[in-house]
Every structure is written in structure tokens, then in C-alpha cells.
């Protein structure tokens, strides 16, 4: 079937120790050297600690770090398990009852798009003290990236396999047990791999809502105390753990699976859908979302002081005497965020795709670039965002760079994967005309890459919203991220809930928009993806 770019990059390291392992090691050494030099140069700026200083800090404080890591890792693991089980369960429902798939994915997307900045305090109120919000946010961060590949995986089998089961008079359950579950495994692993760093980030942000201990607690402390060694020490540990879990899941996948996990997260094409089903689904999703929103406020008997229902938000936005002002405030904040988000989003997409193409042309540097890319992606944005902004500046650039980093990695990996999907026979035809690598790239590989690219572009929409809101909240103090944090502290819950609704809706809309562009482009270059 498929082979992940990562695994291809790592495979030589595993299969032929020695010569081939040089690439990643070189990459790591280069990073460390560059980091050390940068830190020495910037020593008076209080933004960067050198690797030697970080190491010194970690050695001196290893017990504190270990305890914090234990707590956060525990919560992240709980969220990881719950989120992924939820994804499996939802995929199961969609499978048993295919008509529900559009609604399930729509609701799942909407929940996935809820901004962490605002869901955190709401969850804290719901759960009270304890690890509830940490685990929930970790679960929120992972379930969607598992659900989507799983939905594809459960169908990723030729029709004849299902016929085989049917020819022995067996039904859906046998199909599920003997065919679908196994066919979906590679996709499940692909989702789990992406989920690991996300769960860690979710658990850390959860600690920002009031926790006794953990990596997130230490991060706040470190940033506030201007303790650069501690901040970078935390970032290093968090990154290392995320990378290790990522690699561990990859290794496990290689042991369990015949093929390596695929990276492509193409749109699942629900079976037997008609055009109007899409609109009915959107209406159903809205109806259910509003219903469960109002319903849970009623069920948990939440105080109207902070729990605003759909009616309250509608009033605040349209009927209240200050509705125009509220709309203006939120609209301005959204505009401010969009100015950072949109360039960062496209910069990340373009960089990811270009680097993937470069690596296809010059495969020798894959081994060096790949671990770097994974590390970049696994650095929890909450630890580094304030520092990156300090480093690059509070102007547009800092935020744009952070958004781009969040978008870059998934795009890069997906594109690398997509570039390798070029059909071998077509490549052979080009070879027979002695076409150069550039021609092959332009004529065959890039069109073959498009489905993966668009899948990444879609998933990058919520990721970039997460990035921009977190950066605004923790670092720049502008835009919608900051407005949500501010309105929470000023008890302006009308504005907070209205912002949450608008951010989630706009993210979901952006996701849909990319999906629409995707369908138009793929209709030309990859019609089989839309069947």
C-alpha cells in the first residue's frame, strides 16, 4: 500500500545501521550547534538558552521535571485513550448507519474547531478541581485527527473482499471483524501518530485553567519569571517526549502492520450521497449543535452568569442595545487575527509543499530534514509561542511564523507522501523518454501529490486557528485570542461565547471552503478521489 515519508526517511536508519544513520544525526548536530551559537549571541536578550544551559538546568531539576512530566503525560495519555476511543466509536456509528456520517463528521469538526482559549475555563467550571479539563482538552485535540483517517480506513478495501464475506452468507459484523477492522488499522495508526503530540499540548493547555502541578504549570511559571533555561528546558522535554511517542507509535505500527501507516487524510466519500444530503446534513449539524449546547446548560444547571446559551449569544450579537458595539469588537478582533492567520497559513502550506518537492529532487537530505520537521511540529506551541514572539518581534512576523510552523509539518509530510504516490507505470513511461527529475516532478508527481496536499490544507485550517489564538492570548495580546482571554477575565461571557461560536463557525467554514477548492481541483487532476 503506502509508505510514510517519515518511515522511508527513517527506514535506512533502522535497516542499515551505520552509514545511513548519519543523516538524522547530522541534522540533530546542526540544530544543536546553531542553537548554541544563537543562544550565545543573544545572551543579553533573555530569550534563548543554549543547549548546554538547558542540559544543566534539566540535570539540576530532573526530579521536578520528572514529576511534572508524569502528571502531564498521565493526563495526556488518558485524553489520548478517551479521544481515540471516541473516534473509533463515532467511526463505528458512521459505519453501521452510513446516513449519519455527514452529521457525525460535521459535529466532530465543529467541536474540534472550538478554541482552546475559551473551552478551557468553561471545562474548568464544568469539572471543578482536578484533571478533568486537562484530560478533556487532550481528548478534544486528538479525536478528529483519528476519526477522519479511520472513516477512510474502514472503507479502504476492494469491493471483492466484502463480496467474499457475503458469499458465505455473512453480514456486516463479519465484514467489520474480518475485513474492515484490519483494513483500517494502518489508517488508525496514522491518526494515532498525529494525535500523540496533540494530546500532550491539550493536557498542557488544560493545566492553564488551574492545576496543582504539571508541565503546563511549570511553563507559566517559567515564562512569568523570565527563566529562559527553565522555559527551553520544558520545551525540550515536551518536544522529546512527543517525538518519542510519535516514533514509538510508528515502530509499533511497523510491527503490527504489513505496510506502513499511510499519511493521506483524504475526504471520506460517504456512500450513496445526493447533493441535497449535504445541505440537510449542515442543517442537522447546526440543529444538533445548538440543541446540545442549550441542552447541556440545562442538564448541568449551569449558572446563566457565565453559561450563555444560543439565545443569549443571539441577543448579545443582534438584539441587545450594545449589539452593534459587540459585533464591532468581535469583528475587529477577528480581522486582526485574520491578518496574521491567512499569510501564516499560506506560508506554511507553500513551505511544506516546496520542501517536500525539494526533498524529492534531492533525496539525500531527507534523513537530515525529517527529524527536524518532526521536532518542530512536536514542540508544544504554548511553551515556545511567547519566546518566538520575543525572538522575532511582536509585529506581524512572529505570529505569522508560528502559524506557518503549525501548518508546515502536516503539509510537508502529506506532500512528501503524495509525491510518492505517482503511479509507477506513468513514471516508467516518462523514464522511457529519459525525462529529467524536474519534468517528472511537474508532470507526474505534483498532480499525484494534490489529494494529499489538499487533505493537509483542510486539516491545517483548525490548526492555524489554534496557533493564532494561542499566540495572541499568550504573547501578542491582540486579535480574537486575546479578546477571548480578556472577556473571560472581565466576566464578559456574552462576548466570550459569541467569540467561541464565531471562531468555531469560521474555522469550520474555512475547512469547507478548502474542501470546495479541493473538489474543483481534484475533479481535473484526480477524479478517482471524488468517486
Amino acid at each position: 500500500m503506502t509508505q510514510t515519508a517519515l518511515d522511508t526517511a527513517m527506514a535506512p536508519t533502522i535497516n542499515r545501521r551505520g552509514r545511513a544513520a548519519v543523516g538524522p544525526v547530522l541534522g540533530l548536530l546542526a540544530v544543536l550547534a546553531g542553537w548554541e551559537i544563537a543562544a550565545r549571541v543573544l545572551t543579553d536578550a533573555f530569550v534563548l538558552a543554549a543547549p548546554s544551559e538547558v542540559l544543566h538546568y534539566l540535570v539540576a531539576n530532573w526530579q521536578l521535571m520528572t514529576r511534572a512530566l508524569g502528571v502531564t503525560l498521565g493526563n495526556a495519555a488518558a485524553g489520548f485513550v478517551i479521544g481515540n476511543l471516541a473516534a473509533i466509536w463515532l467511526a463505528g456509528i458512521a459505519l453501521v448507519w452510513p446516513r449519519s456520517e455527514g452529521v457525525i463528521t460535521g459535529l466532530a469538526l465543529l467541536v474540534f474547531c472550538l478554541p482552546l482559549v475559551a473551552t478551557g475555563p468553561i471545562l474548568r467550571v464544568l469539572f471543578g478541581p482536578g484533571p478533568g479539563p486537562q484530560i478533556t482538552l487532550a481528548a478534544f485535540a486528538v479525536y478528529y485527527t483519528t476519526l477522519i483517517p479511520l472513516l477512510i480506513g474502514l472503507r479502504a478495501a476492494p469491493e471483492s473482499w466484502f463480496d467474499l464475506v457475503r458469499s458465505y452468507g455473512r453480514g456486516r459484523i463479519s465484514t467489520l471483524v474480518h475485513v474492515r477492522s484490519m483494513a483500517a488499522l494502518p489508517y488508525l495508526f496514522a491518526g494515532l501518530q498525529i494525535a500523540a503530540p496533540a494530546a500532550f499540548l491539550g493536557a498542557m493547555v488544560g493545566e492553564f485553567t488551574g492545576a496543582e502541578r504539571g508541565m503546563g504549570v511549570l511553563t507559566i511559571r517559567a515564562i512569568r519569571a523570565l527563566d529562559v533555561e527553565m522555559t527551553w528546558g520544558l520545551a525540550t522535554v515536551a518536544t522529546a517526549v512527543s517525538v518519542l511517542v510519535y516514533l514509538a507509535i510508528g515502530t509499533l505500527a511497523r510491527r503490527v502492520l504489513l505496510d506502513d501507516p499511510p499519511v493521506i487524510l483524504a475526504t471520506p466519500a460517504p456512500t450513496g450521497r445526493r447533493y441535497q444530503d449535504g445541505w440537510i446534513d449542515i442543517c442537522l449539524v447546526l440543529f444538533l449543535a445548538l440543541g446540545s449546547w442549550a441542552g447541556s446548560i440545562w442538564l448541568f444547571d449551569l449558572n446563566p452568569f457565565f453559561a450563555k446559551g444560543p439565545q443569549d449569544v443571539f441577543d448579545a450579537l443582534f438584539l441587545a442595545t450594545d449589539a452593534a458595539a459587540t459585533r464591532g469588537t468581535i469583528g475587529m478582533a477577528l480581522m486582526e487575527s485574520a491578518i496574521f492567520l491567512i499569510p501564516g497559513y499560506f506560508a506554511g502550506l507553500v513551505t511544506g509543499a516546496l520542501l517536500a518537492m525539494l526533498l524529492t529532487l534531492v533525496p539525500a537530505i531527507v534523513g537530515t530534514a525529517m527529524p527536524l520537521a518532526i521536532a518542530l511540529r512536536s514542540v508544544p506551541i504554548v511553551t515556545t509561542a511567547p519566546l518566538v514572539v520575543l525572538l522575532i518581534g511582536r509585529g506581524a512576523l512572529g505570529t505569522i511564523v508560528l502559524v506557518a510552523i503549525m501548518v508546515f509539518f502536516p503539509t510537508f509530510v502529506a506532500c512528501l507522501q503524495g509525491l510518492r504516490q505517482a503511479p509507477a507505470q506513468v513514471m516508467s513511461v516518462f523514464d522511457s523518454y529519459a525525462a529529467g527529475p524536474l519534468t517528472c516532478l511537474l508532470r507526474v508527481r505534483i498532480p499525484a501529490m494534490l489529494p494529499a496536499f489538499f487533505a493537509a490544507a483542510r486539516m491545517a485550517v483548525p490548526a492555524s486557528v489554534l496557533a493564532v489564538t494561542v499566540v495572541e492570548w499568550l504573547a501578542t495580546g491582540s486579535g480574537i485570542g486575546s479578546l477571548m482571554a480578556l472577556s473571560a477575565s472581565l466576566s464578559d461571557y456574552d462576548v466570550l461565547w459569541a467569540s467561541v461560536v464565531l471562531v468555531a463557525a469560521l474555522s469550520a467554514f474555512g475547512y469547507g471552503l478548502v474542501g470546495a477548492v479541493e473538489r474543483r481541483v481534484l475533479a481535473i487532476y484526480a477524479p478517482e478521489q471524488l468517486a
Partner: protein, 266 residues
Amino acid sequence: MARDLTPPPEVLCADLSKTFAGGTRAVQPIDLTFQAGQTTALVGPSGCGKSTLLRMVAGLESPSAGTVRIAGAPPLATRRQAGLSMAFQDPALLPWRSVRGNINLALKLARRRAEPSEIDQLISLVGLDGFADTRPAELSGGMRQRAAIARALATHPGLLLLDEPFGAVDELTRQQLSQDLPRIWEARGTTTILVTHSVSEAVLLSDRVIVLSPRPAEIVDDIAIDLPRPRTRDAARSDHVIALTDRVFAALSKGMADGAAFLAAQ
């Protein structure tokens, strides 16, 4: 062999036709009876609808009109009793299971048991000695089709449906299989329906050849193959076989010509 054998059923197609959702007519109304214990070959040009007919017999495709009765019951009932096995054009081997694993899966799905030695025999019969524990990805296309045939036989079905089972099998192995397989279904008395576009294969393997026209499939000729069994390679060169083969060819050509005329008349 006296285990849970379902007696070979008679298969009855009455007024059976299929029109696909897009309006494409695949099978014209057909009345056809497949005799119990006989091997019947369906021969026709590519894409004529013979696979569709076979799938309707298995109940994997629902007919637009007409009925299929296997030993008097609808196909679903036969499938539920694991009374039929089908070998597909695409071998449909699960890639995560070995050859033996795929055969065992069929037994499990059919709720049947089989001695490991019997499975070994089947694997050996299709020429896969030493590949029992190999996964499909490491087999050639022909080997995979043979594994699929072994799997189809493993459950001792009363009705065996073979959809171009030798498409990717090399010529030599194909000849070997053409001699070995009929022995099994003769011994078991299986009702076998074989879809093929190889005329000589049809003549050599079956008791009866039904020639279909280009899509939409219609019966052009129904030819009884009254050759003694077992049929050896030498027998295949006999005048009688040549005459039968010619007759099948003639029917095929006629079907094609009629089809062309039919199209021209449209």
C-alpha cells in the same frame, strides 16, 4: 467425504434480467437451468454481462427482474448455509493473512471445520506447496488466483461459482488445473458454473457450454459437451472436441454479428 456435504443443487434462473442504475442493460431476460452436479461454462465476449449473471446467481447482485432459485430456495438461504463458494476475478485474498490463513477464514465464515491435512492437500492440488504460510503480496498473480480456488473448494460447497479463475495463471499451470480441478468436483458432485472467455477451457472443463451475446447478454447457443471423463490432453485434440470448439466459436461469432447488426439497426 461423507461430512456435511450439501447435495449439489439445481440452479434455476427465471426471466432473469439486469439493468444498471445508469440505464445500461447488462442481461436480457434469461431463462436457464443449471443441472445439479453438472459443470456449466458461460462463454461470451468481454463485458457481455456474464459476470453479472454469475453474481446474480450468487445473490451478490440483485436482479432487476426475475428470480434465481438454488435447490428451490433464494440465493441468500444457500449463502447462509454456506452452500456456495465463489472465486472472483480479483482473487480477493486478505493481504494480512497467509494462504492458509485465507483458507481458514473462509472455513470460519462458512462455519465449517477442516483437518489441516485436508487444507495441505488443497494447497498442494493448486500447486502452492511450500507457500501455505506465505502472504499474498509475495505471490504472483497466478499463484494468488490458485490460492483463491483452493479457498473456494475448502468449504465443500454444493455450488461452486468460478469467475474467470485462471485469468492470470500461466498456460502450463492452467492445463494442469484444467485436469485436476474437474476431478474434485466430479468426486464431490458439485454443481459448478464457470465464467470464462477461453473457448477451449470451456469445452475441456464443462458438461455444457452456454454462449452469450455481447451486452446485453442473451443466450446465443446452448451446447452439450458429451466428452468422456476424465479428459486428458490427448482427448483435447480429438476431432469431436475440435468440432465442439468450432461450434462454440461459431455461436460466439454469430452473437457478435447479431450484436453489430442490432447496434447498426438502432
